[in-house]
Amino acid sequence: MTGIVLNCGYVPLVDCAPLVIAKELGFAAEEGLELNLIRQPSWSALRDMLALGHLDAAQMLSPMPVAMSMGIGGLPAQIDTLMVLSVNGTVFGASKALATTFGDIPFGDAKALLECIAAYEDDRPLRIGVPFHYAMHRLLLSYWTATVPALKIEEITVPPPRMADAVSEGHVDAFWVGEPWGSVAVQRGVAQLMMTGSDVWKFAPEKVLAARHDWIAENDDAVRRLMRAVYGAAKWLDARQNKPLAIEILGRSEHLNLSPELIDPAVTGHLTPGLGQPPVAVQRFLQFHKYAANFPWRSQAAWIAKQLGADADGIARAKQCFRSDLYRKHLNGIGADLPGASEKIEGSLKFETAVASTHGHMILAPDAFFDGSMFDFT
């Protein structure tokens, strides 16, 4: 069979799963695609390779296409988001020493934790490690800490695989990172997980499938096949019975090269906050498909742009780079339920809510912010 060959970049994190599964379990082959997954050493490298045409498509941090379209963050280029690959999936943790000063606060209490951090006193600001500046975890960190205007923190960029080292060597006091690197730090006995990203924003688009705007326009057929393959993989990933196999495949040496115990917490949503502590079940810790997780809501792009300091024009442009139009066009007809609107009021849902959709059974998950804010970009 002669298929279309696509070079697709990714960074080895648990949430690269939809791409790995699309390839390994034949979802790509079913669409006549030969998916070359090309591992990237950093987000900067991935971005350059995509922007300059060495990659056709890539897994990206959701703020990256928005930042690039706004012309900030290294390489300005018109990069579009085809669909969301995963929602949530990040953790905030503290070094053992810092966690001890916080005392006994319940896991996942964003407000109590922020009060502790604000009350922390030292001769220098708290140093918090994040993997990349244009990343959802960094936006959530800034959003969360900005609610206490007097609070000063220092953001330090650390590649995820070295986060545990950075904590144990004292380069950072706390960190916000994607799995499995939080669980790795816990297992090494150097850190205590305090909350997850979803405790600040209940439904944050984390990774997206992105490609160059011009390439998308010229490769309609390949885009359709790619989106359908990844959609199939994402759906497969969210079925409970498939999780053990997903964990096994992801752990293999050619992908994450990690033991299944370190991948399990993210995939099953059972996180162990500290060594010797019982696991905590986190709802929707890492959502690949359900609750319309794959739909690129234009309002999500707008929220990201706003956090990056965009004006009204910038927000309008950001909305355009989340391609809900392509999602409707290419996934219609393979059973995808499509929402009636392409924007929602971010932060307005406190509970699971049924919304208008083509099949009539779309339920959206809560998307509230920890401080109760709502964002209407319509």
Binding site: S42, G73, G74, H133, T157
Partner: protein, 194 residues
């Protein structure tokens, strides 16, 4: 060079560092510092205050460097150099050579261009040497495998060395495979059977 630039080279391989620093010195840039230890990146950029940082494109610490240069930016200009895509050829050359450059302070493209061109030329030479070395190593490995496979055939089939090699070559041609692939299969089979 009338205006000397302060250049920081981030590279862990000492031989590579020497080559790149030499090339930059030869081209007239003498204020060059090399950094091998990654953990010191943040401090070194602050203390040495380079005008430009050269780093391997595939270096895992590029995200960190981007953030440092971003934080040091005053006028919101491009952070990474080939970012400034006004010179597309240079950008592509940098990408192909595996070199990435970061401008820490405001610099004009004209001043950066020769530095980057020198670095790119040096990276290309090093890469060429590296791939030749890899090819030589691979050839040596292949030779060993083929010899083992030949020995196996000679013992099992009572063939001469030339006949054993001819048989492997014929099999490879018939199956549209390389001799080394046939040899590998034979060695694997021999290991299983022994």
């Amino acid at each position: 060079m009338s205006e000397n630039l302060r250049i920081l080279v981030v590279e862990t391989d000492p031989a590579r560092v020497r080559d790149i620093v030499d090339a930059l010195n030869d081209a007239g840039w003498t204020d060059v510092k090399a950094l091998g230890q990654i953990s010191a990146l943040d401090r070194t950029v602050k203390e040495f205050a380079p005008d430009i940082v050269l780093i391997d494109l595939a270096h895992p610490d590029r995200d960190t460097l981007e953030h440092i240069t971003l934080a040091s930016e005053t006028d919101k200009r491009a952070v990474a150099l080939f970012v400034d895509r006004t010179d597309d050829t240079l950008t592509k050359a940098a990408l192909n050579a595996g070199v990435s450059a970061y401008v820490v302070d405001g610099l004009t493209m004209g001043r950066i261009k020769p530095v980057l061109e020198t670095a790119i030329a040096r990276f290309k030479v090093i890469r060429q040497m590296q791939s030749e070395l890899d090819a030589a190593k691979q050839a040596l490995e292949d030779r060993k495998t083929i010899d083992r496979a030949k020995g196996f055939l000679m013992r099992q089939r009572g063939l001469s060395e030339d006949a054993a090699y001819s048989l492997m070559r014929k099999t490879a041609m018939d199956q549209g495979r390389k001799v080394i692939e046939v040899a590998n299969a034979l060695v694997t089979a021999a290991d299983l059977l022994s």
